[in-house]
């Protein structure tokens, strides 16, 4: 039985690695359709990654070990995070050792090293991107933790599996605190994954770049790893949101049939969330960077209100 749980764990990571690019492809495809363009298809991200892997790596002369090490670290943290978030089953061996705070820290490590790598080469755009990214991070991370603490107040635990368990076992309760936390989480997820009101993932204009500016100097397999990790990050945030706010479908036992059902429900959730994401991205314009304090400030406000309403109203 114990080995079987590890099999599920590996299955989950394999799904993360293979489906994340397809999800990005799905979002891009919907976006093309909504804007009246012809899309490159669901599998274009795979082709991009394969192409990048076959190219040579070009390193600047003054690149230090941080620059070379960062892509592997970013990729590794994304894979590890995939082992913590319950996507298919609650019985994950790694999940019992790591809770949501660890998850936030994992994303923070990846961001820290990306920012360092952006400054490592010494180009102007890298430093600019790093400074912007850290500005956003300093505002988004407290809000993220606040939103998660609000959810964990209701379930009295910071372990994701435990949170899902509580939502499953409890009777249907309409919780104002969870509604606030969900709103806050959506705003934070848009900021953390660099989607449109905060950052434009498809931009080619250096002056407006945030994330892309940091990784401007990367090429070849390094760039492939970072791009792939980025796709996984988007996927992971959606899975995190699904596990905390709409966990229905995640298997509680390790039976193969339940796992398969969980997989199908996960795909349905992804399709829906992708459509919602495209609606948000097409409907909104990118925000001025100085407006971001207000955007993330309201995320923090929502999360705090959620926590307060837990005490006041529940």
């Amino acid at each position: 039985m114990n080995i079987y749980r590890f099999v599920i764990e590996f299955l989950q990571i394999a799904i993360l690695l293979t489906i994340a690019p397809a999800f990005t492809g799905w979002v891009r495809m919907l976006k093309c359709w909504s804007q009246g363009r012809t899309s490159a298809g669901l599998f274009q991200p795979y082709r991009d990654i394969i192409k990048l892997f076959s190219k040579d790596v070009l390193l600047a002369d003054n690149a230090s070990w941080i620059f070379r090490f960062t892509p592997y670290l970013v990729f590794g943290t994304a894979v590890l995070a995939g082992g913590i978030i319950p996507m298919l089953s609650l019985e994950l061996p790694i999940a019992s050792a790591a809770d949501v705070i660890v998850l936030v820290a994992l994303f923070a490590i990846a961001r820290f090293f990306t920012a360092l790598a952006g400054m490592d080469i010494g180009t102007a755009f890298g430093g600019m991107g790093s400074s912007r990214e850290m500005t956003i991070a300093s505002l988004a991370e407290p809000a993220m933790l606040m939103a998660i603490f609000t959810v964990s107040l209701a379930s009295k635990s910071t372990s994701l599996s435990q949170m899902v368990h509580v939502i499953y076992s409890g009777q249907t309760v309409i919780r104002p605190s969870l509604a606030f936390a969900l709103f806050a989480f959506i705003l934070i997820a848009l900021a953390e994954t660099g989607r449109i009101p905060v950052d434009n993932p498809a931009t080619h204009l250096e002056l407006t770049m945030i994330h892309e500016a940091m990784i401007l100097e990367y090429s070849g397999r390094h760039l492939a790893l970072i791009e792939w990790a980025n796709m996984m990050k988007l996927f992971l945030f959606i899975m995190l949101g699904a596990a905390t706010f709409a966990p229905w479908g995640i298997a509680q036992t390790g039976e193969p049939a339940a796992i398969f059902a969980a997989f199908l429900i996960m795909l349905v959730k992804l399709v829906i969330v992708g459509a919602v994401l495209v609606i948000i991205e097409t409907g909104l314009a990118k925000m001025r960077i100085f407006r971001l304090t207000e955007f993330l400030g309201s995320a923090f406000l929502l999360a705090t209100l959620g926590m307060l309403s837990y005490f006041i109203l529940e």
Binding site: I174, P176, L302, I312, L313
Partner: protein, 221 residues
Amino acid sequence: MDLNIAAQLNSFLAAFVLLTAFGMLVQRRMYGLVHLFAWQGLFLSINTAIVGFEAGKHHLYISSLLTLTLKVILLPYILHVLIRRLKLHKEVEVVVNIPLTMLMGIALVIFSYYLMAPVSRLSTLVTRSTLAVALATVMIGLLMMITRRHAVTQIIGFLAMENGLFFAATSATYGMPLVVELGVALDILIAAFIFGIFFFHISTAFDSLDVEQMARLKEEE
């Protein structure tokens, strides 16, 4: 409808009333403010109906309907007409430091919770937990009147404050007597007309509805 679910819906709607209050605090555009005000009235009206159902007080249905016609339809309509007539619809107000205002709002929520905790411990009503939210809504309306400089936004802050008072009455004592509520509703309606007339006079006298302009009114020395 189960009573337990009704109580939960009640606190859920209370949370949304608070959310719209915060939304008004940070909203810059005139039309956005009026829409948020209408939403707050809608949540308030549904909440009143639910409380009426829970408590079996039928006069609350009437005050819920009154809230719906007055605060969701009539007042926003009057404000809309005013904004259009006074050509304010493109105006974006400069608000003093939005994140700071939000933090002050949060502090007010904590303060009113602290203030209301002993009161709601004594109360036996189902709605006792929403009392703190009601007080917070009143205070945020007040904060909005203090931090804004535009006459129309100050009026909306005043109306939001009245919303909070109405909400407090509903959650503290299952609403005021119907006669009082009808009187208050009439007052609000008359006030809205008077505000309208005043706005026209202010804007013809000063070419603007910024209340800072009124500093010019003092006598020369």
